[in-house]
């Protein structure tokens, strides 16, 4: 598996944990276990996103790393497979 796919996989996994804990915490706002799982996932996501964007371009249209050339439309769209 190439590094770009690997990083997107890390981001997707972290995103899912962040999404899932958010859903759970909406109705269980004091659950320390969920808060802790979420903290780790957010850290993991931040690391993976920073690495991804430094090498492969913007992940969202509000990325900090736009660089000297707008890379938002240059990389493949997700449905291109």
């Amino acid at each position: 598996m190439n590094e770009q796919r690997m990083l997107l996989g890390r981001i997707r996994t972290a995103n899912f944990i962040i999404q899932e804990t958010a859903l759970y915490l909406d109705t269980h706002p004091r659950c320390q276990k969920a808060l802790s799982v979420r903290r780790n996932a957010v850290r993991e996501r931040d690391d993976a996103v920073r690495l991804y964007e430094s090498k492969y371009g913007m992940l969202t249209s509000c990325s900090a790393n736009a660089g000297d050339r707008w890379s938002w439309v240059a990389e493949p769209w997700p449905w291109e497979g």
Partner: protein, 200 residues
């Protein structure tokens, strides 16, 4: 994948309720030229669009339209706060109230529920972008018509912002159409459909 940000694109702070006005403005959520149709139109047209930069335009405008749905819904909500039964009856809001209370349900000004037939996805870059250009102008006209009927500056202000965005989107879609045509044979733009046919 989308991430929700807990802020409106442009602030909405309406002090005085006006249910009759809410019933008109809700058309820009669920009416034929509303923001719900706008976002569905662009986000669905993206997948077969062969030019990356235009996928960008469709994605980014379609995403912004989701934010506009939220602004219209906020305006409707703030215009229908703290209503008395008397206000509901006198304002003509009663038919909507009976069916939806003060919940936000996507209907047109005439009360017709949202219909996906308001949008088109033809799978042809020139055709779809012309649909998008027309859609932005129809939304702009609707905002102009609303502005003729609105006196409250608290309501005018965000509606003017939304109207201005229609003009900007029209401009961007015009550029997108130019990009498509630059990629086609200038002697016959309709010689093949870049979303389906292979370039000969």
């Amino acid at each position: 994948m989308w991430i929700y940000e807990k802020t409106l694109q442009y602030p909405v702070k309406i002090k005085n309720p006006d249910p009759a006005l809410a019933q008109l403005i809700i058309t820009q959520l669920g009416g034929p030229d509303g923001e719900l149709g706008a976002s569905m139109r662009y986000l669905n047209q993206r997948y077969s669009m062969p030019y990356r930069e235009i996928v960008g335009t469709l994605t980014d405008v379609g995403t912004e339209e989701l934010g506009h749905m939220e602004m219209i819904s906020t305006i409707v909500t703030q215009l229908t706060r703290n209503l008395t039964p008397e206000q509901i009856e006198k304002s003509g809001f009663a038919p909507y109230f009976v069916d939806h209370t003060t919940g936000v349900y996507p209907v047109s000004a005439a009360g017709v529920p949202f219909d996906i037939k308001y949008i088109a996805v033809k799978g042809d870059a020139i055709t779809d972008l012309n649909e998008d250009l027309a859609a932005e102008q129809k939304a702009r006209t609707t905002y102009d018509n609303l502005l003729r009927l609105i006196a409250d500056p608290d309501v005018c202000d965000p509606i003017r912002f939304l109207r201005e965005r229609e003009v900007v989107h029209y401009q961007r879609f015009g550029e997108a159409l130019r990009v498509v045509q630059d990629n086609l044979d200038a002697r016959n733009f309709y010689g093949y459909n870049p979303e389906f046919d292979k370039k000969s």
